[in-house]
């Protein structure tokens, strides 16, 4: 016991190198954890952000935007208009804001007004999203809306054009823009790989010069608590733009072979009325296994996971109604809008599903004006806390809708 007290009281026992390690803080990613610090020729360097190296944006070739007109092809709902104005006001008042809106509320349209305002005042606008597929899709959408502006799309493998009026980029490319953006909008903040990644969060903070707007359907507790501080504003939108309630998931408890019989019944049922169906499975192995079983009963389907290379073509075929069902992992959890889509979550009691991801998946259903409703089934062998939480949160959001109506 005496030895321990000696060790604590006598600071000489701590060797010099550990002191050096503790005093070094990475200038790029603010890391001071000694396990990420290496030594090259006696000089400490940070190993956590070492792969984030490349051309950074140059300010010399920067041209301020000349036009700032947003052309929105369809009118916003009253609620959307109200939130859009609120977001703009809080940006003018130099506040950071969080848009907390349900899936399919039309989050992207809410920020067009702010972008317009920022472009008018010759500010630099960025739009960051963790996922690459969503970046490409959003860039096309922004190009349609801001026809007279240069929308540059930056993601891994496409980094030739770094300058632009509006920069749409993945979170991994944010290192190219140190203290650059006056307005940085970030969508899907709870998606992999940005979620719980201290490096990317640090990169995000580093690239903001002015103020930021976060958007999410399922913000975590830590984000919500951060926005209780002064100069932070939360905007909530619990109604979808077509003013229909979110479809409420139904829990189905089945065991063993009964699960598969239920699936096959549902596939046949939806095939008759020509409605596309997503079957979400927890793992890649499971997707291959389940598709192997299902294709014996209905050949009109396919499977998608992160290891399938021709993913985009399969989804494109699915949009054209070539397939009647698709077995998929969480790769299609976000950014998919299809008419009349129905969803079954297979093994919804699996440990990878929490309330947030279940809400996200349920939000795939009924996103369009002419098809605002659909079925969501949680198919599992027991009820979990995540499933119950998800349903209670969706019901809570729907009760807000009742107040508005």
């Amino acid at each position: 016991m005496t030895n321990i007290t000696e060790l604590i009281s006598n600071p000489k026992n701590i060797n010099k190198s550990s002191l050096l390690k503790e005093s070094f803080v990475c200038p790029v990613c603010k890391n001071s954890d000694p396990k990420y610090i290496g030594y090259k020729n006696g000089q400490p360097y940070c190993r956590r952000c070492i792969s984030f190296k490349g051309d950074e944006v140059d300010l010399i070739n920067y041209h301020p935007p000349k036009n700032y007109e947003a052309i929105i092809s369809y009118p916003l709902s009253k609620e959307q208009e109200r939130i859009a104005n609120e977001v703009m006001v809080s940006f003018i008042n130099k506040q950071d804001s969080l848009i907390y809106a349900v899936c399919g509320a039309g989050k992207t349209e809410l920020v067009f007004k702010v972008i317009e305002y920022a472009l008018e005042h010759k500010l630099k606008v960025g739009f960051a999203i963790p996922r690459r597929d969503v970046v490409i899709e959003l860039a096309l959408r922004l190009e349609k809306t801001f026809k007279n502006n240069i929308v540059s799309c930056v993601y891994g493998g496409n980094t030739s054009l770094l300058n632009g009026d509006i920069i749409v980029l993945t979170t991994h490319q944010l290192y190219r823009y140190p203290t650059y953006f006056d307005l940085l909008i970030m969508d899907e903040i709870d998606a992999f790989p940005y979620k719980d990644n201290p490096l990317l969060i640090e990169m995000f903070k580093r690239s903001v010069k002015g103020h930021y707007i976060l958007m999410s359907a399922t913000p975590s507790e830590s984000v919500l608590s951060e926005f209780k501080k002064p100069n932070h504003q939360i905007h909530t939108l619990f109604t979808r733009y077509h003013m229909h309630p979110l479809p409420c998931p139904k829990i189905i408890i089945k065991f063993g072979i009964d699960k598969y019989i239920f699936l096959i019944q549902k596939i046949k049922e939806y095939e008759k009325v020509n409605k596309p169906l997503f079957i979400f499975v927890p793992t890649i192995d499971e997707s291959n296994l389940l598709y192997g079983i299902l294709k014996r009963f209905s050949k009109n389907g396919n499977r998608v996971n992160s290891e399938v290379n021709e993913r985009e073509e399969i989804i494109e075929d699915f949009r054209k109604h070539k397939y009647s069902y698709l077995v998929t992992t969480a790769v299609l959890e976000r950014g998919v809008t299809l008419k009349n889509l129905q969803v079954i979550i297979f093994h919804s009691d699996h440990e990878i599903y929490n309330a947030a991801s279940l809400i996200q998946i349920s939000g795939r259903v009924g996103r369009l004006y002419d098809a605002p409703d659909g079925d969501v089934y949680f198919l599992g062998s027991k009820t979990t806390k995540g499933m119950l939480d998800a349903i209670s949160k969706i019901k809570e959001a729907n009760s807000h809708l009742q107040v508005v109506l």
Binding site: Y39, K40, I50
Partner: protein
């Protein structure tokens, strides 16, 4: 007291930054290398034999995407601490296998070395603790990455032997990080034989197997 000490000494893997658990004899005797078993497993060492111009060679890894990304972080991103990842876990075996040999690294592009602050090949093979001489010199700075298959075959004319070293009747171990076409190896073997080396062996971290199609498009495909 000992218990406290044991708890404090958790080592983190230099490659994946997770805590190392020593669960094999091999990882225990190589404990100072600080690479965990999982990382070694993913790298898939195969210890492949090959011959270039009749000279026996050994490549540790296949040129898979995992090794390629690690090599990229080490060479291009200049992560010096990763030098122990490639060879050091097997250093005991290799220093026995090549006992009495003199290590000769293939000369590399000088500007890159200056910018990096170290020569990447020399740093990898330092852990063998064999005698190392840099008797091969590149007279002109050429990046092989930018050459195609036929142009690479003529790389030999830019190699020179530093005559201040004497390698007569010596056993030479030629080392390199990646062997792509083997052209620079062939040139180096020729020069070393002319200067009276008794025996030559090759040790490389990984070796690429090129199909005819790849040979054609070598220039367009970046090596790293």
């Amino acid at each position: 007291m000992q218990l406290v000490k044991l708890k404090k000494q958790t080592h983190t893997c230099k490659s994946c930054f997770k805590d190392i658990r020593y669960n094999s004899f091999h990882s225990l005797i190589n404990s100072e290398v600080m690479i965990c078993d999982d990382c070694l497993y993913y790298a898939k060492p195969i210890f492949k034999d090959f011959r270039i111009d009749g000279v026996k060679g050994l490549a540790i890894y296949e040129y898979n995407s995992y090794i390629r990304s690690k090599m990229f972080t080490y060479k291009i991103c200049e992560d010096y601490e990763l030098k122990d990842f490639f060879l050091a876990p097997y250093k005991l075996e290799f220093s026995l296998l090549y006992f009495g040999y003199i290590v000769v690294p293939i000369p590399s592009y000088k500007l890159d070395d200056e910018r990096r602050g170290y020569n990447h090949v020399i740093e990898i093979f330092k852990c063998l603790k064999l005698q190392m001489i840099t008797c091969l010199i590149k007279t002109e700075d050429i990046k092989q990455k930018l050459l195609n298959y036929d142009e690479r075959q003529e790389i030999g004319k830019h190699f020179k032997f530093d005559s201040s070293f004497n390698i007569k009747n010596q056993k030479i171990l030629l080392v390199d990080d990646v062997i792509t076409t083997g052209a620079s190896m062939k040139a180096a073997i020729k020069i070393l034989k002319e200067n009276g080396a008794k025996k030559i062996k090759i040790l490389s971290i990984c070796k690429r197997e090129l199909s005819d199609e790849e040979k054609k498009h070598l220039k367009n495909v970046s090596i790293l």
